[in-house]
Structures are given as structure tokens and as C-alpha cells.
């Protein structure tokens, strides 16, 4: 995808971004504020999925514990708020630092393993974080943590209202898309992609793949953590439930259904998933059954994702 506006799929992407940009206006016009909520949440999860795709789709690192960073980011809003610290810059910095540190430490251990070991160890680490927060009575544990005000930023960039928070989310989305787009085409990105295909080969070409992958892992974690900050502000109710490993499974599903190793794919995946979740739960409270069945069918009978389908438009 060299030039976004040239290809047909590129036009669809741009069109979609445009629509997302003016969404609040559309919703106001059609008097459906509920949809703004839905979309806000969808985009936050979309950013998390994009961050996961960086390591999973492009890098081949199948992490089953990525939502831990979403949770950490959210608690980086919740815990300071608990102590009446509402400064948004502090929330953001705290999220970046804690996610980077946690990713550095757990990544350093996890990335020494591969295949099945790697998947399980990432899941185990995220469970660890989940249980830690679950056992911290002070911050609500199972009952969760409620915050009463959003992260404070200068007036011109505040996130007080639903619309202003939406534009924060949209802004992070655009930044993430652009950043990942540049990253995967850079030298660094080529190493990551090469390591996914043949790690041994890359090492024999002189690349210390461990270091590159760890860096990529940390970057991905930080992006997810930033999404977590927005999530914390959005829900204002922060609980460990956000970080159970089954949520990581959902995140992986979004990346797969959207199309791995593609830029916009995970975004489609996240939006589709949430749409599906809403639609199915209107039909039955047992929507998990349908969803699980769909998942199984999807894997057994066909893959490629939405993005691959879109790319077929190019041919």
C-alpha cells in the first residue's frame, strides 16, 4: 500500500476515516448519542487491536496477554484519581512508563521462548496482573474502581464531554495508524517482519532479533496502554475484568477477523466484533454460543479476514 488514495481499498479506508471524523456531527444530526458511545468504545478497542497486530500480525508474536496493558493504562487513571490526582499529563506519563516497564520485564522473559511456550507465558503474565489488581482491596478489587472526573487537560484539549473524549480517541487512532504505517515500512519494521517469517535466517543475516522484537513488544504495549487511559476515562468504572485472559482472546479474534499484517484490518475487526456483540445480544442472552460457534467455523472453514476481502477489490 504505497499511496493511500490510489487504490480502491485505499479510497475505502480514507472514506471510513473521514466518516469517523465527522461521526459526532452525524450522530447529533440523527439524534443517536448512544451510537457515539458505541463508536467511542469501538475505536478504543480498535487501537488496542492495532497495537496487538503490530506484534502479532507483523511480528508473528502471538500474545494472549495483551489486554493487561489496556488494564494497566486504565488503572493509571483510576489509581491517581483515587488519590485525587486528576492531571491528565500525569496519567499519560504514568501509563507510558508502567506499560513500558512491564512490557520490558515480561517481554524480556517471554521472548526467550517461542511457539506454544510464548503464547502460554504471555497469558500467564497477564493473569498475574489480573490477580494482582483483583487482590488489591484498596482499589476496589472485584468491585472495581469508580472515578468521578476525567483526566484534566488544558481547556482547548480537554476530554470532559462525550464529544471531546471522542476526538481524543479519534486523534490517538489517527496517530497510531500513521505511526504503525511508517514503522512497518522502516528498517526496523523490515526486521520485525523478516523475523516472523524466518527468525533463524534473520539472525544469520546479522540481526539480533531478540532486541528488535523486545523493542517492538514494548512499543505495542505503550500504544495499548494509551488506549487504556482513554478506556478508563470512557467507562469511569475500572475493574480487573478488563484484563482477564479471555479478553485477550477476543482481541486476537478481532485481529484475525480483520486480517493480520494489514494496517486497517484490526480496526475493522474491532468494530465488527463490537457490532456483532451488540447485535447478537439483542437476539439472545446466549450470544456467546453463537459467537463461539462462529469463531470455530471461521477457523475450520476459512480465513483471510475483512481486509483480504477488501484487497480483492483492488484486483
Amino acid at each position: 500500500m504505497v499511496n493511500l488514495s490510489c487504490t480502491r481499498s485505499g479510497k475505502v479506508y480514507l472514506g471510513m476515516l473521514f466518516l469517523l471524523g465527522i461521526a459526532p456531527l452525524l450522530f447529533q444530526w440523527t439524534n443517536q448519542p448512544f451510537l457515539l458511545d458505541l463508536l467511542s468504545r469501538g475505536l478504543i478497542i480498535g487501537i488496542a487491536a492495532l497495537s496487538l497486530n503490530l506484534i502479532l500480525g507483523y511480528g508473528g508474536m502471538i500474545s494472549l496477554g495483551h489486554v493487561a496493558y489496556l488494564g494497566i493504562g486504565a488503572y493509571c487513571v483510576g489509581i491517581p484519581a483515587y488519590y485525587d490526582v486528576y492531571d491528565g499529563w500525569i496519567h499519560l506519563s504514568l501509563a507510558i512508563v508502567t506499560c513500558a516497564l512491564f512490557a520490558l520485564i515480561t517481554g524480556a522473559v517471554s521472548l526467550r521462548t517461542k511457539g506454544v511456550y510464548f503464547i502460554m507465558i504471555t497469558m500467564a503474565f497477564s493473569q498475574m496482573i489480573y490477580f494482582i489488581f483483583l487482590s488489591l482491596e484498596e482499589y476496589g478489587a472485584d468491585d472495581g474502581l469508580v472515578i468521578y472526573a476525567r483526566s484534566e487537560f488544558p481547556v482547548w484539549m480537554n476530554m470532559e464531554s462525550a464529544v471531546s473524549l471522542y476526538y481524543w480517541i479519534f486523534g490517538l487512532l489517527i496517530l497510531t495508524l500513521f505511526f504503525i504505517h511508517r514503522l512497518v515500512r522502516s528498517r526496523f519494521g523490515r526486521v520485525i517482519i523478516g523475523s516472523k517469517y524466518n527468525d533463524l535466517r534473520m539472525q544469520s543475516l546479522g540481526f539480533n532479533t531478540y532486541g528488535y522484537r523486545l523493542t517492538c513488544y514494548v512499543i505495542s504495549a505503550v500504544i495499548c496502554g494509551l488506549a487504556g487511559v482513554l478506556l478508563g476515562n470512557f467507562t469511569s468504572f475500572i475493574s480487573p475484568e478488563m484484563m482477564s485472559w479471555t479478553r485477550s482472546g477476543e482481541l486476537i479474534f478481532m485481529v484475525i477477523i480483520g486480517g493480520t499484517g494489514s494496517l486497517f484490518g484490526p480496526l475493522f475487526g474491532a468494530l465488527s466484533f463490537l457490532f456483532l456483540e451488540e447485535a447478537l445480544s439483542l437476539i439472545t442472552i446466549y450470544w456467546h454460543l453463537i459467537f463461539g460457534g462462529l469463531l470455530i467455523a471461521l477457523v475450520l472453514f476459512g480465513k483471510g479476514g475483512i481486509d483480504a476481502w477488501l484487497r480483492k477489490l483492488d484486483k
Binding site: V2, F188, G189, N198, S204, L205, F207, N208, Y212
Partner: protein
Amino acid sequence: MTQTMRADSVLSIKSLCKNFGGIKATDDVSLSVSRGGIHAVIGPNGAGKTTLIAQLSGQITPDSGDIEFDGRSILRAGMAQRARAGLARSFQITSVFLEMTILENAMLAVQGAQGHSYRFWAPTHKDQGLADIAMDHLMTVGLHHRSGRIVSSISHGEQRQLEVAMALAMQPQMLLLDEPMAGMGKEETFRMIEILSLVGAEKTILMVEHDMDAVFSLADQLSVLVNGRVIATDSVAQIRSNPEVQKSYLGDSCA
């Protein structure tokens, strides 16, 4: 079977041993490759040739012995380190990146030789300098006119040529080639022999190979590996007339 360690030997293997659960894959192997030469290692299947290359490139750790490259021991160095130190390897089973183009493959190899790749911003496909260097190496193996092809769509022989190009792109002092002619037809083999003799004029090569034609026309020195042991190391002519070698190896598949 003593090999005098000459002052200009690029690679010195000293009493290398590797056991796999009772089987001696590498049994006290010592040999020395002098600078600028092409040293071939031949032997029947299962002799331990690939295991030897794997230990030299750093993929497997030997149980005992030492490996000296350019006068320094590289025993503790990892694969990436050895590659950066100037020891390039090609693989017996083609390990090029199938989903990328020929040019992208070569550019990746050049990139590896150009210091660290912690550059997050500039797109590589716009990096003309990188592309130019890559094209040079592709030209050496004759793939430059096909540079835009996806590797999965080119022939096996061309993929092997790309393997060599990528090894060259690393600007190595020495090449470790694991059966470069593997799976090639007559014409492709011919072309590869041409390429390798060109390369061999400038670089030191240690080559594991089955194809006797190639070996006899390219190599200066031959080592014969049987059951993990080097039973003879000498010039091509001497090896051909060595009765022990004929008995254990050449005798059955006479060139």
C-alpha cells in the same frame, strides 16, 4: 592428516566434537581454511556436514573444541554476532523470504550489514542507496533483471542464487555454503559454478557439497567427512587418488 595452520588462515576449526545422544555427529574435527581459497567438505549422507556448518555459523553449540575466525575464537559468539563479524552462511534448505521480492530480500541482507536497524521512520522502499547496493549483489548472481519478482514465483535454482546473493550482501570475509547446488538441474548447476568461481576469486569459501563435478572444478582444498571424522584433507588431485577416500566414499560414486 595434519594440516599446518598457516598464518593466513581465515577459519580454524580445532578438535570440534558434537554428540547427539550417543551418536558422534562431529568427531574431533580439525581443519583450516586459508584466505582466498575455496575449501570443500564432502562426504556421504549422514556424515555430519550440515551439523558442522551449523556449529560454524553458531546455530548449534559444540560439546568441545574451538573455532577461530580471523584469529579470534568465536565459540561464544551468537549467530548474529558471527554474521556481523564477517562469516556469512547460506542454507541447504532454501531460506529466502518467499513473500517478498528478490530485491527486498537482497535489501534486507544489505541492511543487516549496515549497522543497527533501529530506524523507525524512513521507508526502506524509498532508500535508493540500499537498493543500489542490493542490485550490485544481485548482478553478481545474475538476478538483477528479475529483481521485482516475488520469490515464491521464481525457480528453485534462482532461489539458490538469491541465497548466495544475500550471503554476499553481508559483505563477508568468508562464506559458509551448505550445499549450494542442492536440488539443481544441470544448467542451473553450471550457472552456480560460474557464480561461485567468480565469488571465490575474492572471498574465502567453505562449501559443503554433494555434487562432485562442482567440487572438483571449484575447490582448492578438499576435506572428506565420514561418520563425523575428517579422514583426509588435501588438494583435489591428492584426494582423488587417495585410496582410503576412494574406499569409503568416492569408490561408490566415481566421478
